[in-house]
Structure formats: C-alpha cells, structure tokens
Amino acid sequence: MSTSGKHVPFSKNILHFENVEKVCNEIIVNLKRDVGRTLQRRGAVVGISGGIDSSVVMALSAKAFGPEKVTGIMLPEKDSSDDSLFLAEKLAKKFGVSTKVEEITKALDGFGCYQRRDEAIAKVIVDFDPEVDKAKIEIKQNITENLPAVFSITVIKPSGEIRSKLLPAKEYLQIVAATNFKQRCRMSMLYYYAESLHYAVIGTPNKHEVEQGFFVKYGDGGADIMPIGHLYKTQVYQLASYLGVPQEIIDRTPTTDTYTAEQTQEDFFYQMPFESMDLIWYGWENNYDAKEVAAVMGKSSTEIENIYKNFERKRKTTEYLRMKPIF
C-alpha cells in the first residue's frame, strides 16, 4: 500500500512511473548482470511478434547488450497475422537488431497441432470446416460473476454466421494442448539460436501473464530471464513510449495471435481492459479496501470484491504453471 508504511490513497495514477528512465536503467543493469555474470552468456535472443511486450524486451536488450549482441527471431505460422512479421521487422530495424525468420508451420504440422485442434473443434461444432471457417476460444462470463471462468468455442463461417458453444472438458483440453505446440515449438527454436550463439533467451511475459498464468509452461514461459515480469501492462506501454517503440506497435490491440479468428487478449482471458485490470490488480495485491478502489474505478464494492476473488482464483489455479519440477 506504500513504501513508508503510510497509507497512499488509491488513484488512477498510482502505477504511473514518475521516472521511467530510472526504471529502464535498472532493468538494463539487471539484464547485464544476469546474462553476463549469472548465466555467463554473451548476448540475447528475443522472440519478436510485433506485440508490445516483446518489442519492449527487445528494445531493453538492445540497450543493455548493444544491438550487435541481440538476435530477434520471428516465428510465424499459418494462423499468424500478416501484421506480426511486418511490425517485428520494423521494430528490429529501428533498434539495429539483426533478425531471423523461422516459419514453424511445417513443424506444427509434424506435431499434428492443427489436425488435433480441428478434430476437437469439429466434435463440438459438427459442420466446422477448417479450410474456410475461423475459430477462437473465449470466456463469455462477466468477470464480476463469482464463478470460475469456462471457455466457449466460437466458429465464424465465411458468410459471417457465428456458431458458439460451451466447450466440454475433453475437447477444451485437446484444443489447448494442441495449440500449446505453437508456444513450445517457438521456445525450442529460440533455444536453438541461443545455444548456437551462446546467448540467453530473454522472455517476454509481463506481470499479468506471469501471475494470472496466461502463458504456456515450457512454451513462452520457458526463458532464462523475464525482465518485464514485474511490470503491469500500462507500465509496459509507458516504457514502450520512452524507448521509442514504433507507434503502430503501441497502437495495436494486444491479441493472442494463436487462433484463426481475430481475438483480443481481453476476450480470450482477461475479461476486462488492461487499464482497469492493472489498477484493480494493484489494489488487490496491496490490500486496498474494495470500497476505496470502487470509488476511484466507478464500480460497486461488490463488483470489486468479486474481481478480487477472480484474481485470487486465477493466481491459485495457475500455480501449477509457475511451479518448478518437484523432486
């Protein structure tokens, strides 16, 4: 609630960095120490997607190690947005970082990623045609509903017709397990480059992804260092502006870039806009009374209490993802 033991009133500016340069410099100092001294590696590999998080991590890495010691890896597959590659290339050019493009569709085909996913979708939406239909999974419940989130499959036909159904457990698990090949395949390729260059893999998850479990274990959760793992999304945006990340990347709505249908991270997982989620998460994490947070956020105390419970539940149920092997 405060650094001095004194109560700091909750406000919409509470997460804003007064000195963003100092924050960046601290991350840069830590990156140099962790890669050089702790990991004994001589540079950094960053998977870049054209999204805000990986862009900030690449910019910080370029400043920490010098652009010549950073390699940006783009890992598109057949469901990736066309913008992803274009924006990632623009970012790398801006920071003088060399890049490699590794198309992973064939590897994913080899794993049966698409076939296993589409087979599960077709069990729920019987006339699903993966050749022409778009699909995504999403949470339809309101975050203030005090019940764990469950997923629905939505299929969009070429005519624009939408079919949506609650996913049974078996099909939900198969879709997620199949889709997770994407992140795990990317992780494998990042480590190929890291090991062949004697570099470290710098991971890109932010605080929400780490703590709410919005990452794939041994996929995008597989990295040597996560330099923005303690930053709220709005703080990542603040760093992006300071570091000079291209405006098109800053303006882009964060998506999962995982399913064939367009899908924001809000629809898929978070159930609320980042601006609100950051503040309410901060309030929850720092034991602010729901009433005080509610007054600032323009919500009722009950709504805030239910969102607090949702956060608590997400952190608890995703503990498995953050756990190291037990031995």
């Binding site: 339809k140 419940q141 509903e145 005090n146 019940l147 764990p148 989130a149 469950v150 997923f151 629905s152 949506s164 609650l166 996913l167 049974p168 457990a169 078996k170 939900y172 698990l173 419970k309 539940r313 608890k316 149920t317």
Partner: protein
Amino acid sequence: MLIGIELEDKIRDYIVKSTFEDVKNITNETLIFEEGVLDSMGLLFLIEFLNEEFNVTTNDDELVVENFKSINNIVAFLKAKL
C-alpha cells in the same frame, strides 16, 4: 425421478471422488468454488458430469454463481431442469 437427497448424495460423491476430499469436509452448504474445492476445470468437469449423469445441459446464461456455488444450489438448478 430422483429425489433431492439422492441428487445431493450423487453430487457429493462425484465431488469427493474427483477431488480426493474427505467426505466430512463437503456439506450441502460448502462453497465449493469460493473455498477452492473446485477450480475452473473442476467446473467444466462438473458440467459434464451433470450432463452424463442427469442428461442436463448447461447453457452459457446459466453459468452463474447461484446455480453452482454449493451442493444445495446445484440440486436446485437440477430440479428446475429435470
């Protein structure tokens, strides 16, 4: 048609078997999600159990806490649908 007490027993038995909880910890009033007995996958499996055992399907708009928060609530939900 099953009566309330049989429904309660079947649901409690399912919860105990699927969570390895001690049966004495699961009363009709236990808040099964709020107290962390079941999580989101647990809810999904519970919905599947209701479908397989009682042929009751759950629609999107029925995914509200009043229908699932305790065994008593689940029984009321089932009775309304059976």
